[in-house]
Amino acid sequence: ADPKLGIVYDAGGKFDKSFNQSAFEGATRFKKETNINFIEVQASSDTQAEQVLRGLARKNLDLIASIGFAQQAAVQKVAKEFPKVRFVLIDGVAQGANVNSITFKEEEGSYLVGVAAAMASKSKKLGFIGGVDIPLIRTFACGYAQGAKAVNPKVEVTSNMVGTTSDSWNNPAKGGELARSQFDRGVDVVFAVAGGSGLGTLQTAKEKGKLAIGVDSNQNHLYPGSILTSMVKRVDNAVYDSFMQMKNGTWKAGVTAKGLKEGGVDWALDENNRKLITPDIEKRVMGARKDIIDGKVKVIDIRSGAACPV
């Protein structure tokens, strides 16, 4: 029989222009290909996450994908209560024989776009715009800076956060304003990791004739010619794969950290940014990519407790 599948988004909702949305896309792809449906719910608070997970588990679902670190505690708890139900936790780690925790090495993908940015920048001033100052976003920022400084230690990275409330992910005006301010100070490539606010950043880069870097999904198509590349984080693949494994009976519990090697993160090169990526840039980025995969370059993950080296 077909597996019964569920997906639980966190407070950002499935249209957050970030990992929830990516998860939604992965699940949708799975559904299109297999015609197997899935239940989807949004948990607006940590309390609700537990309620939802338990509710779904009671319906005897086979696999529940929980999107976002906010659900970590809830997954851990509910997984223990329902040993027969399997859980996939995205962006967080929960213990349990029926839990597969998938995290991403955002620092590696960010390193690559950092390399690209440093090479594409004429002013050698780069910008970073994050949604809220939390470890996840800092990881992006630090990987980005590491990549950029690897190209040229003199590169400066200016970093701004949109805010501290949950509004901060939905404030394109501020996202744009931060970008303008950075451009005024000489920045010419900006990396936006701010959900909906980041859309304002991309937009502004286009208006001002500067370059921007998208995040999570491939955003190159939004403003071809102004988006240098995107740091893609394949939450969609993670969800898709989990569902597929469930269907094929190959699903396994565990903890996986998906980096460049595992195809969890990458940079995006397609027809939309082909013209912006010179052979030089491409060569350098691909080189860095190989070095990381081969283990020659180690990108520091600040979440491990290490300070950002740059």
Binding site: F15, T158, S181, Q203
Partner: protein, 323 residues
């Protein structure tokens, strides 16, 4: 980066760009409250008009239609508020808060229903209001300071920016030097006196609310059509409350309210620039603490000014004919 790298020019330009959202809404609030109606529903009106103007601008591919549709919706909401506050004599705070909450939900639901993009409208592309380039900007561009002043600080903004700044003296004039303003102030201070003088308090207040609706819609249009180029759920992000704060801060006076709006815009711009910068004495502050700057400064200024509140006396009380 050091403290010296602060770009004052960039801060000023950014202030000019940030302020209109607050100025429009602040002036809107001013009309409502000067007439005696508390308008805590600015936020909801901004959000609704942002959505409608983006949606219509996108559909018609004409930003001006968007602006007009935004006006319409904002005025409708203001009229609803007026109906509750004036005709029903209901609680004005409750009405405003209800509108804010309902609009936060409704704009998402409708945007999602129509566009299926997660409560976002599609990108407006060219259906936006573009920046005004003052004649001769290119010529003076390279003259130090003057070029910047003319082409970037004074010029180079959207029409709505000029409208916002132009509005301030106009509002000042209307409130203090026109018949309408005289009656407006009288209704906010002592509606019984206005009534005894033959002024219809209800009509005056309805009128004020409609003007508030019109002005508020520009805030929304500016957010969606000028600053962002699309609508996104909850994109007003507290602008309405901030505008109200600027108005209280400005003691319900147009010029002072304007200064309050500029102050928020300015502090906001400063905060962007000092994030990650090595500051004298305190060193490099973490982002979250830097974000506090505008708000902490506001509290300090407010406490220092000994702001004796001079709210319109009849603010918030429905006009009932008996004493």
């Amino acid at each position: 980066m050091t403290f010296d790298d602060l770009h004052i020019g960039s801060i000023l330009v950014s202030t000019v760009r940030n302020a209109p959202v607050l100025i429009f809404a602040g002036m809107a609030g001013l009309f409502a409250e000067r007439s005696g109606v508390i308008d805590i529903g600015l936020e909801g009106k901004i959000l609704a008009s942002a959505f409608v103007s983006a949606a219509v601008a996108f559909t018609t591919q004409n930003p001006w239609y968007g602006v007009m549709a935004g006006i319409l919706v904002s005025v409708l909401l203001a009229t609803l508020q007026a109906y509750v506050a004036i005709t029903q004599k209901g609680n004005q705070l409750v009405a405003g808060i209800a509108i804010n909450i309902a609009m936060s939900g409704l704009t998402f639901v409708v945007a999602q229903y129509i566009f299926q993009q997660g409560g976002r409208t599609p990108d407006l592309g060219t259906a936006r209001l573009f920046d005004v380039v003052l004649p001769g900007s290119a010529a003076v561009e390279n003259i130090p300071f003057i070029g910047w002043l003319y082409a970037h600080l004074i010029g180079g903004h959207s029409v709505l920016v000029y409208l916002a700044f132009g509005l301030v003296p106009l509002v000042h004039w209307v409130i203090y030097h026109s018949r309408f303003g005289l009656r407006l102030r009288a209704c906010g201070e002592n509606p019984h006196a206005a009534d005894a003088a033959g002024v219809s308090v209800e009509r005056q207040r309805y009128f004020a609310m409609i003007i508030a609706g019109v002005l508020c819609s520009f805030s929304g249009a500016y957010l969606a059509i000028v600053q962002s180029g699309f609508f996104l759920r909850d994109m007003s992000a507290g602008a309405g409350y901030l505008a109200l704060t600027a108005m209280v801060f400005g003691n319900w006076r147009p010029l002072h309210t304007f200064l309050g709006c500029l102050m928020f815009g300015f502090f906001g711009a400063v905060q962007i620039q000092i994030e990650g910068v090595e500051l004298p004495v305190v060193g490099r502050l973490p982002g979250a603490l830097i974000q506090m700057v505008p708000y902490v400064l506001t509290v300090i200024v407010l406490a220092g000014l000994m702001a004796k509140s001079v709210a319109p006396k009849a603010l918030g009380t429905p006009f009932v004919k008996s004493r």
